[in-house]
Amino acid sequence: MIDVINLEKQFGDTKILKGVSVKIEKGDIMVIIGPSGSGKSTFLRCLNCMEDPTRGHIIFKGVDIADMSVDINVHRRHMGMVFQHFNLFNNKTVIQNIMLAPVYVQCQDLRRTKRKNLWIRCTNLFKKQADKRELIPVTATKAQIKENAQENALSLLKQIGLQDKADVYPSTLSGGQKQRVAIVRSLAMNPDVILFDEPTSALDPEMVGEVLDLMRKLAKEGMTMIIVTHEMGFAKEVANKVLFIDDGQILESAPPEEFFGHPKNPRLKEFLSKVLV
């Protein structure tokens, strides 16, 4: 589904990524580990062009989104992202956080369709009966879009057990709750893949579990996930592919049993011996 070809990223003169190629299939759960400063977060952020890649291609569902001329906003709608620091919209309530993007995007499409219909109607005036073009059907009104989004948001909140928090502001939530709302926010767009950028690193130890549980549930439901994390146990349990990135390069890529059981790369062996005590 995502095909990364020779991805490079430079900040000024410092090369962060030095040619990364990787293939992600539908349903894959790929965990990326590596020491800090290795470029794993940059790699993840390049995947949805949060950082524009310097060179290379990212083919997402047949389109090269590393190309600066594509409308990245359209493609990002199919790629959720979860941040280390949650980044919930502080000026919106929990349910508004979840509804904002779906409602906005669908209303935008609705306006676009209406505009096109108006144009078709105008041009039809000057055409013969046989040539007249048909109007594009409008599926839902603005009120319906909102209602559907609200229903969807509430059912998502129910799944994570936070339906009673729908109308509070994010500042009143705990870290674990914030992160779960953030995950649900990206789910509300029905993405094909979700990128997790160290989702548990900013959490208290006792809240890590609830977030990992939700991610585990998503994994079981077959969501494609790319996760940058330091939770080795979680990686072992959930991933079907683990990448080790250091110094801007993929040094090892293997299924978790092999990755943790028989690491080949000396740098990875050293890293694992320090991390897995």
Binding site: D52, N73, R76, F83, N87, F89, N91, K92, V105, M189
Partner: protein, 236 residues
Amino acid sequence: MGNFGQKVDKFIEIFIAQNGYVRVLEGLKNTLLIAVMGLLIGILIGTLIATVRVIPKYRRLPRILNGFCSFYVGLFRGTPMVVQLLVFYYVLLPLFDIRMTGVQVSIMVFGLNSGAYISEIMRSGIQSVDSGQMEAGRAVGLSFATTMLKIVIPQAVKNILPTLGNEFISLIKETSVVSFVGAADLYVAFSYIGSNSYEFMVPYLVMALIYIVLVLIISTGIKIMERSLGKSDRRN
């Protein structure tokens, strides 16, 4: 102090019997009109400029716009308000053969001028919002402009509201120079009363009181607004 009472009597006579209050109300209306419209135009221009200045500058268009905006800000912050009024009224209007009243020119100049100041206030406000907010907005597929409008600017405005209030207050007070281009504001009204009675003490005292009351009302309004915008910070 013996004749202070007489002076007050004289003022009251002109104020009420000779319809002085009509002029004062007219002046008050113009003062408020210029300040409020100026502030609204200023917020609009300021927000636009501030947005332009925080756009990432990889491409040429944002860079050109940015250059233009810093020129604009430099121009309007680098000259006194009175000079701007005079230049617009006596240089630019005749040059382009445009007919505008003093009040209209004042509204325009106050808007342009406060736009320059508000752009810097707004920029600091936008930069005070965590960059993660913008990233989160972009990550769910909203455009830069939409995220700015729906997420970043509302939070920025909340942060800069006290400073914005300051700007409004100083606008109200600065309107006292619009008589340079023939706009009848509070100052014009009271100096009319003063020169009719050859007695300036009481009119100018009353004028000062009116300004103070105006400013007090505004600062109370800002406090109320702050409280209502601050509800997303409160833990309850």
